[in-house]
Amino acid sequence: MKNFSRISDEFAQAWTVTLKDIKVYYLRPGMIMFGFLMPFFMFFSFSVRREMAAGEGMSRLLALTIFFTAAAAGPFIIPTERRMGTYDRLLAAPMSLITLLLGKIAVGAFFAIAVAAVASFVGIVFLNGTVAQPALMVLGIIMGAFTFSAMGLIFGSIPTSNPGDVQMPSTLIRWVLLFISGVFIPLADMSPVARAVSYISPLTYAQDLMNHAVLGMGELNLWLDIIVLFVSGILFLLPSIKLHKRGRVLGY
């Protein structure tokens, strides 16, 4: 009974952190810029001059926004909080580190889900896209949002109080992943080597999942996509935990 109330307490605390961050950070220029405008800008600059079916365009736009937006929150919010000194409040509170991390992951995930909703709207209304499996699309958006938010959190966990320190590497790595992951070049068109490389990126599976959902077909097994996203989301927690412990030794 006691354990149960502890668990429900921890969920409530995670949710408290999430709500607070939504209020405090969603309208910050850094979030709007890196989380909201950037993926749309990238999508349109890469789709210009390219013949693309509406469904295909929408599927890519979705994968791209979820990925880029979800992973933008962590590297922005945590270093900002460290700099303001407010992070100590969270670290000193009676909740486990995992709870705090889950709360922070949800912040990025919800932001990505909101942006993905806009992207779906753009896709359906302006690109005349049709969605083969709407329920799967919603599931894919939610899973991708949480997984990539957890990935962004790794960068946010790097012990520093300067968001600029982590913005660069995190943006760079996201770009690299974008290019190797079958977002701009479909898996089917890739050389065998490029394709082998693409399998190390979780974004590949998210894109494939979106293809299943929107186009009704993908290159890979649907269950493989789902399992890889789920497992990598959990594995992404490990470096964040380690880095937080390191931060507590270094004094951040």
Partner: protein
Amino acid sequence: METRPIMTNAIEVKNLTKYYPATGSGQAFLAVDKINFTVEKGEIFGFLGPNGAGKSTTQRMLTSLLTPSEGQIRILGHDLAHDAYPAKGQIGLVPEESNVYTELTAWDNLMFTGRLYRMSKDDRNARAEELLKIFGLWEKKDVKAENFSKGMRRRLSIAMAIIHKPALLFLDEPTPGLDAQSARAIQKIIRQLSKEGTTVFITTHQIEEANQLCDRVAIINQGKIAVIDTPEKLKQTFQQVQSVEIAFTGTPEGIKEKLTALPEVSSVIKIGDKWRLYNDAPPILLPHLVKFAEEENLSILSLNTLAPSLEDVFLQITGQEVGTIKVPPKPNKKRRKGGKR
């Protein structure tokens, strides 16, 4: 004799040590060096030391924000290394920076903290109202903290730290940089909390603050605790040590060493254009000083003998300027462990 229940102390620290590890840009640094102390429940315990002494480092370890390199910490009976959770729920923390969420109103800042500490809605609302009124922020409850002055932010920060009625409150230099009125208001609140039974651990580099506020004071310098006692006892400890303050017309080479070498002088500090000489017997010293001035061809601009203050104790122990400092011998009488309450 009546039997008393076994009291757990609010804080017990044994051999606490912090090395900041070497990083790309810096060398490993020993910030806190094997310190030991105990804070009893209900005390206001002052951690007094100059900048860089290791006060914040110690406090961050006590609040589980920083991992110690060595040593044990017990907070309210809980070993912080293995059993931090129950301790964390019972402490409140006012860090050096007034870490309020500037984008949130005063009210929302308090609600957030109350939720984080799992207070019920009714408790949160009642307590937030009470605190905002005590802290003179009730009229501003719906104003975002970004529009607050430094003093108001600090007050809000303290309100956030005590919304859940912690048994133990940590404050890291709560008053420097504030206007006198805000500083006084904060000191008053700390006294009030203490009356209500809260144990208070406060770091400061302001001697007067420690003197007026604290039941006991630890003086920390370069990561080591030099002495722990009540402000009164500290002054008494140094009672036989008095000081003479003297200003000359010039500053010949090696003057400090020569002054230190005079009879009965235990240490010398330069304060502005004055030299302060700590010594056990001013009557013996004064003629020597006059003779010294004659020999050095100096005129004496001013000369005062000073009664010991806590500042003297502090300067004696911490004055970095004083390379040759000799800490005066401790009196033989046994030092009392706790402050009188």
